[in-house]
């Protein structure tokens, strides 16, 4: 069985960017796309947690930072990234202080650089999941073994 591709959601109001992103990255990642923040949140509610949500900053309706702040609240393990053509100071600072993004990418992107950043983002997510699984597994194993002893040997 081939290992499952990591789920990545890309949000941008320009369709050409969505198509570009999907075409360049779909060989390595399981790509989902949305044209607005609202659409992205609906898609996340439907499809479940992603490894990474990458978003354009300036979009009608919800901004990238607003969207990623919501993503942070609802899916805190998901890695967050802004991909924007603009580098306005306030937007940049909000990306850190509100959305707590892992990377800020400036458009137009260089494919190999973006690919590397996505790989890093996915690896960061995977590491978090791995730790979670180990802790959960350890807890279960401990509960099971403690159960075998009926708790009566606690003081041994």
């Amino acid at each position: 069985m081939t290992p499952q591709k990591a789920k990545v959601l890309y949000v941008d109001d320009e369709e050409i960017n969505l198509i570009n992103f999907r075409e360049t990255m779909c060989d390595e990642f399981d790509i989902f796309t949305a044209a607005t923040g609202e659409e992205a949140l609906n898609l996340l509610a439907r499809e479940g947690e992603m490894s990474l949500v990458a978003s354009d900053q300036r979009m009608p309706g919800m901004s990238g930072v607003e969207l990623l702040t919501r993503v942070k609240e609802n899916w805190p393990d998901t890695t967050r990234m802004i991909i924007s053509a603009y580098t306005e100071i306030n937007e940049l600072m909000e990306a850190i202080n509100q959305a707590e993004v892992f990377r800020y990418f400036v458009k137009p992107w260089e494919e190999s650089e973006l690919r590397l950043a996505i790989r890093n983002a996915v690896a960061t997510y995977d590491l978090g999941q791995e730790i979670r699984i180990i802790v959960e597994h350890g807890r279960k194993q401990m509960a099971e073994r403690t159960r075998i002893f009926g708790g009566s040997n606690e003081n041994e």
Binding site: I89, M93, V106, A117, I131, R145, I148
Partner: protein
Amino acid sequence: MNKTRLLFIDDEEVNRINFQQAFSDDYDVLLAASGKEALELLAANEDIALILSDQRMPEMSGAELLARAREILPNAERIILTAYSQPEDIIAAINQGEVYRYILKPWSDAELRIAIMQAIERFQLKQENRSLLFILEEKNDELAELVKARTDELTKLQSMLPICSYCRRIRDDKNAWHELEVYLRLHSEIHFTHGICPHCYEMVMKEHSEIMPKKDK
């Protein structure tokens, strides 16, 4: 209780004094005037929970310093404090420094205090996770030992073995019958070395001499 240790880096002395005055009551504050000095302190103090750095400094920038700090103390949280901001500086702070907060100077003590508290909470949460992981592993090893000891004891304690009076085979807990040797091999840690007892030796030799009796004659 020990105070949480912070490292503050700024090339202007007045900022270092201000920071120390505002926060040394609640935190154990280390100060550095340059990136180079900061790297030395980082290497010597692995319990630093949070690094706060100015961005614009001669020689090494704040983002550069924090990128290197990530290699030395990857678990410490990072904050940039800066008076002037160029977009490139902020992007470097995100992508290289992986900062938790970006705060403009002059800072308000109240605001900075909240950011520091949040950063430390985050640091401690991650630290707790790591030690939980460690404790779990230890506890699990202990329990695994206990389970093994108990299992060994149980196999030894099963002293009532149903044995067939005729063929001497033994019934296991799944109602299957085994040769004595097979049973012991499966349910104990006994190893077998094979030989012949004097009684059987005599019997075997006798059979042999009966089968090949004419050899000597």
